[in-house]
């Protein structure tokens, strides 16, 4: 009996919601969601007895499509609304003659991503909307990943749908004039989605990993489409794949953080690294050099080093220097200081770090103090190191990070008592 591919239902829900919205219009998104949900539930009613069909995805699409056509037929017949009839003809035409799995869902998923990234929505609503409609996560799951109350998230999605209904956005890919700008928003949303999963704040670890993998899944989809395929998209995908290759290695069985130097490099995902390097290569076509390019290049230098000692810190330092020119964010400045320390020693790193102390946006950033602690410890200034670790400890709510810092403090006290 066939087994189900991981997340098939979630991915299929995203495909089917996108495809049906093309014919029903964004104003009928809730109706579309009901049709899709019903198809998924039908599988739950039948498959336990009949077994999983040979082509589960095709089965689901067949059920959803037929139901959708019924709804459109009814609308065309009883309400005599021309709109319904036109959509019916369009949909029948577009979906027949395709083998069940050959319907080009990518077009519709990409159109849905552009709708979700509509400028009338805030960034956090854009992320939630894309996860919901294209990613197939429900409000409860998104709420859990973002540590929001389920009712808040559900309301946020309802409001987003109402907003899109009233703005009258059309379900289509952007015109070439506004394409670059609109695509940049999509890439930004995917990047934020990835970071949300990657930066281990709090929340359920597995769910957060899934956010990273979903961001990769959606970005891969963008790279396969002529409208989305460009050097920046490839660079973002490379960056996410190279970072995500370490997802499993950076946390131990107890959920504690493992530093780069101590990670078991054999547990890095080789396939992801390979695919990431491939996209890094593709991102070099043309003359674009974006923040994504530089970050991907840094991630690649980490990924290809066979041991911690072999990491090309001077190369990484150069990439960070370039990155500071393009995007001088406080976190980049902090990473730049770390790279200085790794390339030229703790004292040089500390000098760079001290300059960041007055940066307002870093004042409450626990990693600044954790880095101070690390560099002071390495240069033998134990008192300053302990004070810095304590300061970092007071600023983080992440339990894994708290345990890590406590362990650091205990080690210092044990060795220097």
């Amino acid at each position: 009996m066939p087994e189900l591919v991981d997340h098939l239902f979630r991915h299929k829900a995203g495909q089917m919601i996108s495809a049906l919205t093309r014919y029903f219009g964004i104003e009928n998104l809730e109706l579309v969601e009901d049709i899709v949900q019903e198809a998924l539930l039908k599988a739950l009613q039948q498959w336990p007895y009949h077994g999983i069909p040979e082509n589960p995805g095709g089965w689901l699409w067949q059920i959803a499509k037929n139901h959708a056509l019924d709804v459109l037929r009814r609308e065309a017949r009883f309400q005599k609304r021309l709109q319904g009839e036109i959509r019916l003809i369009e949909m029948e035409h577009a979906t027949t003659g395709h083998e069940a799995n050959e319907y080009p869902f990518e077009d519709d998923q990409l159109s849905m991503m552009f709708i979700g990234c509509h400028p009338s929505l805030s960034r956090e609503v854009q992320i939630a909307f894309v996860l919901n409609t294209v990613g197939g996560f429900n409000a409860a799951e998104i709420a859990r990943a973002f540590l929001t109350a389920e009712s808040t998230m559900a309301q946020r999605l309802v409001r987003a749908k109402a907003r899109l209904r009233t703005t009258g956005v059309r379900f289509e890919l952007p015109e070439s004039g506004s394409l670059t700008e609109r695509l940049d928003v999509v890439l930004d949303v995917l990047y934020l989605l990835f970071n949300e999963g990657y930066e281990a704040h709090t929340g359920e670890r597995l769910l957060r990993e899934e956010l990273c993998l979903e961001a990769i899944h959606l970005c891969r989809l963008v790279t396969t489409h002529p409208v989305g395929r460009n050097p920046r998209t490839h660079a973002l995908l490379a960056l996410m794949l190279l970072q995500a290759s370490r997802l499993k290695a950076r946390i131990d069985a107890k959920g504690d953080l493992i530093l780069l130097a101590e990670q078991d490099r054999s547990s890095w995902d080789r396939e992801m690294i390979h695919e990431g390097l491939l996209h890094l290569g593709l991102s070099a076509e043309g003359d674009t050099l974006s923040e994504f390019h530089l970050q991907a290049a840094i991630a690649a230098k980490h990924a290809v080093a066979e041991t911690f000692e072999q990491i090309d810190w001077v190369g990484i330092l150069n990439e960070y220097a370039a990155l500071l020119d393009v995007a001088p964010s406080p976190v980049i400045k902090l990473n730049h200081a770390v790279a200085i320390a790794m390339a030229h020693g703790s004292q040089a790193g500390l000098q760079a770090l001290i300059k960041l102390k007055d940066d307002a946006s870093l004042k409450k950033y626990h990693l600044l103090y954790a880095t101070f602690g690390e560099l002071y410890e390495r240069s033998g200034n134990i008192q300053e190191a302990a004070a810095s670790y304590r300061e970092a400890l007071a600023l983080t709510e992440n339990q894994a990070e708290q345990r890590f810092l406590q362990k650091k403090l205990q080690q210092i006290e044990f060795h220097h008592g």
Partner: protein, 113 residues
């Protein structure tokens, strides 16, 4: 060896399941059935059509037909026939039936043979 019939009744209105949760529920069923089949214990599994049942009864010499019933609550959604050495073993098998974790109710009856 005796045969037992497991009637699967749909429970109260199902909670709102996400696509991922629906898939997981199906996979639980699939693993449960696979295990039984490998042990040679799964004899039959059939789903009944939804909302199509009629009830016939004789009232004052007349046959009265009721239904179909729109209410899905407590109706039998389908059944499994399993083989077990004794009623205890049949209950053990039923205990692991995934319908129970989806809010369903399972009735176990021994087939008199």
């Amino acid at each position: 060896m005796s045969q037992f019939m497991l009637f699967i009744r749909n429970g109260e209105e199902p909670i709102e399941l996400s696509p991922e949760q629906i898939q997981q529920a199906i996979q639980r069923f699939s693993h449960w059935a696979k295990k039984l089949r490998e042990q040679g214990k799964l004899i039959a599994a059939e789903k009944l059509k939804d909302n199509e049942g009629l009830m016939l009864r004789s009232r004052n010499g007349q046959i009265v037909v009721d239904g179909p019933f729109a209410e899905t609550k407590e109706t039998i959604g389908g059944y499994f026939v399993v083989e077990a050495g004794n009623p205890d073993e049949a209950i053990e098998i039923t205990r692991e039936c995934p319908a129970l974790s989806n809010g369903g109710v399972v009735e176990v009856r021994e087939i008199e043979g």
